[in-house]
């Protein structure tokens, strides 16, 4: 019976397999050494066509009354925004204060309820909310059939 040949095949195979495994391990080590990179964000890269210098806007010179009117308008806007911001901060303070008062009263009422109220709410997150829309959806609107295809560029390292 031919035994010599299969034996040789086994040895050669084992050695070849071991060599292959070592090569793969070396490749893995090399790849793992390279740190993972963040995907570049297209928002922060200005396209080249906007950096061409021949696109320069030349505005007409402003009359002094117009310039003064604009400066005064800016000042009024700043004041308005400041008042708005202050009102918001005041509202936040009032909310926090009323919350603290309510918690104090609760504590005086019952310690158990107070402890339960202080605990964090597991059902709060995840929290999702759609922004308000300019117009509500039209009733009885029949949209044309179509589809959305995702064409985001896939970056590989």
């Amino acid at each position: 019976p031919c035994r010599a040949q299969p034996k040789k095949k086994k040895k050669v195979d084992v050695r070849k397999e071991q060599a292959q495994k070592e090569r793969m391990k070396k490749k893995l080590k090399k790849l793992e050494k390279a740190a993972p990179e963040l995907i570049p964000i297209e928002d922060f890269i200005t396209p080249l066509k906007y950096s061409e210098s021949n696109r320069v806007r030349s505005l007409p010179p402003l009359a002094p009354e117009e310039a003064e009117r604009r400066v005064l308008l800016l000042k009024k806007w700043c004041l308005f925004k400041q008042k708005q911001d202050e009102a918001e901060k005041k509202a936040i303070k009032a909310l926090v204060e009323s919350q603290q008062e309510a918690l104090k009263e609760l504590r005086l009422e019952s310690e158990e309820l107070f402890q339960a109220a202080i605990r964090r709410d597991e059902g709060l997150f995840p929290f999702e909310r759609e922004g308000p829309s300019y117009t509500p959806p039209l009733p009885g609107y029949d949209p044309p059939e179509g589809k959305c295809t995702d064409i985001t560029k896939v970056y590989t390292q």
Binding site: E37, D43, I92, L103, R120, D121, K147, T152, Q157
Partner: protein
């Protein structure tokens, strides 16, 4: 410095410091080593405090979402809430095709880009969380979708580039 360490103390003499020249050279900025992108530890939070929370704002309008993210960041700064990171997720582009009334060809309608900004907070107290949510909701602009969830490793991994070769090799090994 051999000049000042030597036993000859001629500091009062006008020749003190003769031979110094390093102060004349311009300061060389030390070479910037590329910092490895490593995941920061995700805190789980205690019973009275939430851990790492991601406030994700998504919209088709870039300026709106950018300004809203800046507003939220400043609000957290003012309310002394620790902000870990404030970054942008990669933009997604999608083509909207619709079927023409006559004919079976799909007509290109528009190319929409979805932008997402994330503000990561840590240590939000349980009593203050509903107030913060209330404020953010009342200032939410039109078309901006708000999502608040806890930060996970999967969220961090979604920012990184995919490595198909590494994954192939790992699959082969196991």
């Amino acid at each position: 410095d051999a000049l000042l360490g030597c036993h000859r103390s001629y500091r009062s003499r006008p020749t003190h410091g003769i031979g110094k020249f390093k102060y004349l050279l311009s300061k060389e900025v030390p070479k910037k080593r590329k910092e490895k992108v490593q995941m920061k530890e995700i805190s789980a939070g205690t019973e009275y405090q939430y851990g790492d929370i991601n406030i994700q704002m998504t919209s088709y309008d870039l300026c709106l979402v950018e300004h809203f993210a800046q507003y939220v960041h400043r609000l957290c700064n003012h309310l002394s809430i620790q902000v870990n990171e404030s970054y942008a997720m990669p933009t997604k582009t999608s083509e909207v095709l619709f079927l023409e009334e006559r004919g079976s060809k799909m007509q290109l309608d528009a190319v929409l880009t979805t932008h997402q900004r994330v503000v990561q907070i840590r240590g939000l107290s349980s009593t203050f969380a509903p107030i913060l949510l209330e404020i953010i909701q009342s200032n939410q602009p039109e078309g901006v979708h708000l999502l608040m969830k806890q930060h996970t490793e999967a969220d961090f991994k979604s920012r990184l580039k995919s490595r198909p070769e590494l994954e192939e090799l790992l699959a082969e090994m196991s």
